[in-house]
């Protein structure tokens, strides 16, 4: 990185300061999986118990919700990817005790969690796609 592109150190310190981080943020993608899972289970359980004829509509609704959930996870993953910033730093381990390392580490963890959450959402959609009846 050439000198003129180097960010102002004060700005960097602001970007990496502790108040801007939260451990909750890395759980947002898995929480999206939870929402998708609970919605799938709840909608199907109520539909099959109360109105089995509406299962087609429920499957369509859940399919759309899957797209929404994947879009959210994709967006979270993209933000986390930028936070990880591995293409600029080349640092895959972030093993040092600097604020910048902590910042990028949380990005890395969030990228990986977005990935696993996306896989979870896709898996959770398969029954909706493949099964046409409650039985």
């Amino acid at each position: 990185m050439s000198d003129e592109h180097r960010p102002d150190p004060d700005e960097e310190r602001r970007e990496f300061r502790e108040e801007r981080e939260s451990l909750w943020r890395i759980t947002l993608a898995p929480a999206t999986w939870v929402a998708h899972f609970v919605a799938s289970y709840g909608v199907v359980a109520v539909t099959c118990a109360k109105a089995p004829d509406l299962l087609g509509a429920a499957r369509l609704g859940l399919g759309l919700f899957t797209l929404v959930a994947l879009a959210i996870i994709l967006w979270l993953g993209w933000r986390a990817w930028r936070q990880w910033d591995v293409r600029n730093t080349g640092d895959y381990t972030n093993a040092l005790g600097e604020a910048e390392d902590r910042h990028q580490f949380l990005g890395h963890a969030a990228v990986l969690l977005a990935l696993i959450s996306a896989i979870g959402v896709v898996y959770g959609t398969l029954p909706v796609v493949m099964l046409e009846t409650c039985r």
């Binding site: 502790e18 999986w33 972030n94 040092l96 902590r102 580490f105 896989i119």
Partner: protein, 852 residues
């Protein structure tokens, strides 16, 4: 600004290299060491049992859990003898039922989960270079509750009165069971579950707020990450079971028909609540054990772990996904296939993060220069066995295969492969690895290898044939079988193997308990490990860390050769105890910058008394002795209030303290900077989960039953429900107001609010109780669940009233001042959750019947 007004740290941080390089004069070293030694001196003689130090409580906890494990193992041996031959009559069917129920219950509730808590209490502070856990007396209270509950539940075997319905207590078998067995299970284990939640709160706060300065989240030991994840899982997994126990015991004691289909109930609700707990439970015991592997493997490979972020992903991801698996224990219950599909899919998905950590371990071993040691031998055995159990798990996650082998010995084989590989072997590896840290002695290499090969061989001889036994059709939990079944030879092999396992455990126990007095002093860091626990003092000191270091890397002992010498010299933080207090350092959540010198509590009898009376409150109802239970519960409340009043959140004599390296730290904090506030927050998250489970029950009945609420049923009086919600919400608003007014110095207004708030809350309780009087809870599940919600709210409101009065008393007596208002912050936080509970309960009781 005067000393008492200062609420933040002052002085240089982080320390510079020059500050750290400056030597500490010998005279000062000796003086401060003597101060610390005096403050942390363990109680001696018969007062030894008043100790609350994590090193004592953790050790007792671990030994007790291990003792229960051995007892449960003996039960298994007797069962194996009974099953060795067809048509055997060594023990009766009823005793066999008691034995398998207690074998499973004890292994899960008295061994696996408490063992995690024990090990974490024992070693987490050392990983974090800390003095102790943030709430030592809470650990001690949890331990004594565990002892009382465990002895009570196990003791029922001696009176031939143990539960017989299996470790998951399915109704209607368990609800209709004669005798006190099911009650012993429900009340005894609920008591222990509460102790587990207390430990989880302690461990989460410990990992978040008690790390050494500079240990940011990206360099904390992986063990701390696992503890954080598992603590969080306990908070969301145990409360559904506690809610289930609550409903179950109401049915057992008062005949409220939650699980009785003849009166609108549904046994399936118990299965849901049990397995929402039960499946995450498997990961709750697996993750902390595999965390031990994550600490042993870098040491053995002599290099940093490969893929730290990947292992964090794996722990957090497994923690989440494991909540989407519970129905795979219920594949044969007739749920819609499409519902089964979701759980089958999640069960396959959880394999991915679980596998990732194993690959990270393998990569570390491949990339390192492996020095094979005894702990590594056990880890290797664990990985082999767990992988086999994981593969049968993948098979079982597929619903059609599951239907074929459900409730057969294939399941028995699978679950023992996962639990031995995922829990028993890594924990034994941890015992060998951490023994020099815990006891300052080494275990025998030769005996350890004998124990390993006996247990490893015996395990496979016992459980590998069981896959076949199950496929040949042998159901689990039968006390005998006919010769014509052809299962005899397989069972004989399993029985022989079981005794080989037992022989291995005899060797292990002998090695563990034999006198090691003649051994030379162990080296301080016998495995050349890189993490902070190996900065421990040999011979033993009780202060935890001589001084709390500033940490800048994941393996500080490898990366900073001067670190241990500087810790020993008292160069770092809190090297002294000028006022003779026990203190530990509280730091910020993300970056661990120092915030507070937290005073922690010391030895006391009060935790034992509190545990004994709490035990009475749970044990007397087992025998339907309600008046003594109520008296015992009241004494427990008094003990806990005395304990809180005399030793927590008292205004300090000195508002600020020199913490070392030029840093001055406050000694008192309230609100989100105080560890107590975090503990309340975390506890209430668990409490809210339990409440949500009861509400889930209400809506479960609605989906599962066409007649819920039944035609023409009586409903709660809407006006009274509305009044109760309004008045309780007002009480909440006044509590919040009291905190604001007190903080602004308007002490009179705050006291006025704290007088009015409990009166309003009491009125709200009365209105809510009155609103359901027309309903007959034993007649149908609809009035029963409304009563259950009412009881839940009223019980919490009563706790809320005690808390408000506690703050009022504090304000009047000078314990609670505008500056020292931690109690009021914590009570307000409790009331936030209570207000939410009231609103939800009010909506369910008052509005839902009209909408549904």
């Amino acid at each position: 600004m005067s000393d008492t007004d200062q609420t933040g740290p002052t002085g240089p941080y982080p320390p510079t290299a020059d500050m750290l390089a400056e030597p500490v004069p010998q005279g000062e070293q000796d003086r401060t060491a003597a101060e610390l030694r005096a403050a942390w001196a363990p109680p001696t003689g018969w007062r030894y049992f008043t100790a609350v130090n994590n090193s004592e409580v953790g050790l007792w906890y671990a030994l007790t859990a291990f003792g229960f494990m051995l007892l449960a193992g003996v039960l298994a041996l007797v069962m194996r003898l009974q099953l060795a031959l067809p048509d055997n009559d060594l023990i009766s069917a009823d005793r066999f039922n008691q034995f398998f129920t207690m074998h499973g219950s004890a292994m899960m509730f008295l061994f696996a989960v408490p063992m995690f808590e024990a090990i974490a209490i024992l070693i987490l502070p050392a990983f974090l270079g800390g003095r102790d856990m943030p709430f030592p007396r809470l650990s001690a209270f949890g331990f004594w509750c565990f002892v009382i509950g465990g002895v009570f539940v196990m003791g029922s075997l001696l009176f031939d009165a143990a539960p017989t319905a299996g470790w998951f207590m399915y109704p209607p078998l368990a609800t209709q069971d004669e005798g006190p067995g099911s009650d012993i299970w429900l009340l005894g284990l609920s008591f222990i579950e509460i102790a587990s939640i207390a430990a989880a709160v302690e461990l989460i706060v410990g990992a978040l707020k008690c790390r050494p300065p500079g240990m940011r989240v990206n360099i904390m030991p992986l063990y701390a990450w696992y503890v954080l994840v598992v603590g969080g899982m306990i908070l969301f997994a145990f409360p559904p079971l506690i809610a289930g126990d609550f409903l179950f015991e109401l049915e057992r004691s008062f005949d409220w028909p939650f699980f009785d289909p003849t009166r609108g109930g549904d046994p399936m609700l118990w299965q849901h609540l049990f397995w929402i707990f039960g499946h995450p439970e498997v990961y709750i015991v697996f993750l902390p054990s595999i965390a031990i592997a994550a600490m042993v493997i870098p040491t053995v490979a002599r290099r940093p772990i490969v893929g730290y972020s990947w292992i964090v992903l794996s722990a957090v991801g497994t923690g989440f996904l494991s909540f989407g698996l519970w129905v795979h224990h219920m594949f044969t219950t007739g749920l819609p296939n499409i519902s089964l599909g979701f759980f089958s899919a999640a069960s396959e998905a959880v394999v991915i993060p679980t596998g990732i950590q194993l690959f990270a371990f393998a990569a570390t071993l491949i990339a390192g220069r492996v020095k094979m040691s005894l702990p590594m031998l056990w880890i290797a055995g664990a990985l082999a066995i767990f992988t086999a159990g994981g593969l049968t798990g993948v098979m079982l996650a597929i619903a059609p295969f599951n239907w074929q082998v459900h409730d057969s010995y294939f399941i028995v084989a699978h679950l023992h492969y996962t639990l031995f590989g995922g829990m028993v072997f890594p924990v034994i590896a941890g015992v060998y690895y951490f023994f020099p840290f815990i006891r300052k002695k080494m275990l025998s290499e030769r005996l350890g290898r004998w124990a390993f090969w006996l247990i490893f061989t015996g395990f496979n001889v016992t459980f590998l044939p069981m896959h076949l036994t199950g496929l040949l059709g042998m159901p689990r939990r039968i006390f005998t079988y006919p010769e014509a079944s052809g299962w005899g030879w397989l069972n004989m092999i399993s029985t022989l193997g079981a005794f080989v396992i037992a022989a291995g455990f005899v060797v292990f126990v002998w090695d563990l308990l034999r006198s090691k007095g003649s051994q030379t002093q162990v080296p301080r860091n016998p495995w050349d490990a890189g993490t902070l626990e190996w900065s421990h003092d040999v011979p033993e000191e009780y202060w935890g860390a001589r001084s709390i270091p500033h940490i800048t890397s994941r393996y500080p002992l490898w990366d900073d050769p001067d670190l241990v010498a500087r810790m020993d010299a008292g160069r770092y933080y809190l090297p002294d105890s000028p006022h003779g207090h026990r203190e530990t350092l509280v730091t910020s959540v993300i970056d661990a910058s120092p915030e507070l010198a937290q005073r922690v509590t010391g030895p006391t009898w009060i935790t034992l008394w509190a545990a004994a009376f709490t035990g009475g409150a749970f044990i007397f109802p087992t025998f339907h002795m309600y008046p003594p239970a109520i008296v015992s519960g009241a004494f427990a409340v008094v003990c806990i209030l005395y304990w809180l009043w005399t030793s927590t959140a008292r205004p300090p004599e000195h508002g600020m303290r020199d913490a070392g390296l030029g840093l001055r730290l406050p000694t008192y904090a309230s609100g989100p900077k105080a560890v107590g506030w975090w503990a309340v927050w975390i506890t209430m998250l668990g409490d809210a989960t339990a409440f949500a489970s009861v509400v889930f029950g209400f809506f479960f009945y609605w989906t599962a039953k066409p007649d819920f609420p039944p035609e023409g049923a009586m409903h709660a009086a809407p006006a009274l429900v509305g009044l109760a919600v309004l008045v309780l919400a007002l009480s909440w608003a006044l509590t919040l107001g009291a905190r604001h007014w007190n903080g602004a110095g308007r002490v009179g207004a705050a006291r006025g609010a704290l007088v009015a708030a409990p009166l309003l809350a009491a009125g709200g309780c009365a209105a809510l109780i009155a609103s359901v009087q027309a309903l007959e809870p034993a007649s149908h599940v609809y009035p029963a669940i409304i009563w259950a919600l009412m009881i839940w709210v009223v019980a919490h409101a009563m706790v809320g009233i005690i808390m408000q009065l506690y703050c009022l008393a504090g304000s009047v007596s000078g314990k609670l001042t505008p500056r020292h208002d931690a109690d009021l912050w914590n009570v307000t936080l409790f009331w936030h959750f209570l207000c939410l509970t009231v609103l939800v309960a009010g909506a369910v009781i008052g509005l839902a019947p009209g909408v549904l």
